[in-house]
Symmetry: C2
Subunit: 213 residues, 2 copies
Amino acid sequence: MATRRTRRTAPPPASPWRSRQGAGARTLKREAVIRMAARAFNQRGYHNTSLDDVARMLGVTKPTLYYYVHNKEDLLFECFRTGLKPIRAALREIRAQRAPARERLRQVLLQYAEAIASDYGGCMVRAEDLHLGTKLHAEVKRLKSEIDHGIRRLLRAGMADGSIARSDPKMTAFAIAGALNWIAHWYRENQALNAAEVARSFVALFERGLEPR
Amino acid sequence: MATRRTRRTAPPPASPWRSRQGAGARTLKREAVIRMAARAFNQRGYHNTSLDDVARMLGVTKPTLYYYVHNKEDLLFECFRTGLKPIRAALREIRAQRAPARERLRQVLLQYAEAIASDYGGCMVRAEDLHLGTKLHAEVKRLKSEIDHGIRRLLRAGMADGSIARSDPKMTAFAIAGALNWIAHWYRENQALNAAEVARSFVALFERGLEPR
C-alpha cells in the first residue's frame, strides 16, 4: 500500500447507492464500501487515504459511511477479513474430502493465490504492519495463524499419506506463504495473466516441489 | 520495519570510534553506521527512527554521522545496497563456473536467503515502498531488476542444460524471490535456526521443486 506505483485496477463497480433498495441491500452496500476502501488503500496507500476519500469514490457522504464502519482501522480490518474469507472456506470444505492431502492442499492454495491477487491482497499482507489497535492486531495474528496451521496440517497429512515429500512443515508452509504473499507486491490487473492463471501457475510449481520422488 | 514486533538482535558490535585509528578506519566506521541504522530501522521502524537515534546508538554526535551519510534516506539506500552486495557478488562469481545451472543457482539463492535473514533484510524488502526520492527509488528498482534477471537467466540456462525442470522463468523467479523475501517478515535472530540454516532449508525446498522428473 505504501507504494509509489499506481495499482491499475478495473473500473469501479456501479455504486449500489444508485440502484433501488431491496433485500440484502445493506450487505451489498457494506461490501461495496469494503471493496472500494481496498482499492483506495492500494492506490493511495493506507496512511494517505481518508474516509472522505472512500466516501467520495463511492459517491456517498461520510455519515453514510459511518453506517457501515466505525473508522478507517475498522475498514482495513474488514478488507483483511474479506480477503481471508475464501481461504478459510476452502480450509473448511476440504475437511470432509477423502482426496490425498496434496490434492486438498492444492485447492486451498488456489484460493490463497487468487485472494492475494485480488483487491484485498494488499490489505491482507500489510494489515499486521499497519499499526492496528491492540485488539484488531491480535485478531489479525490469530486469523493468520489459523491459516498457517491449516497449511501445516495439510503438509503433515500429505507426508503421512505419502502424497507429499518429507520436509519441515513449518519451513515449507513459510516458503509457500511467502511466495504467495509476494504476489501482492508485483501483481497488477490487466497484465498478461489474470488472478486465476497466476494462482494455477504458482500452485503448479509447488505441486512439483511437493511431489514425493 | 513498520512493525510492532521487536526484532531481537545480537548485541551491537563494539563501536569502532572507541578503538584506535588506522588504515581502513573510515570504511569500518561507515560500515558500523550502516549496520546500526539497519538495526534501528528494524527495531523502531524507518519512519520512527531519526539520525539522532542512530548517532545515540553508536555513541557519536550527529555531525560525526554526516561525515558518512547525507541524510536518513541515503542511510536506508546504503542498507539496501549493503544487503544486496553478497547476492550480486555471487551472481558475478558463478559466471566463470561450468557447473550445471541448478548448482550455480543454488549458490546464488543461499546468499540471497542469508542476506534476507541478516540485519539488512528488512531494508532490502521494504526500500521500494518507503518513499525514497525519485533517483534512489529508480536505483533500487534497477538493482532489484538486475537480480531478478540474473535468477531468470540461471533458470533458463538450467532448462537448457537439463538440470532444471521446464516452467515459466518469470513466474518461477517471482515465486522464489517471494518465498525468500518473506523471510524478512518472520525471521528473528536467536530462534531455533540461524540464518545459514534457514537459507539451506529453503534452498533445499526449491532444489527439489526445480529438479527435472
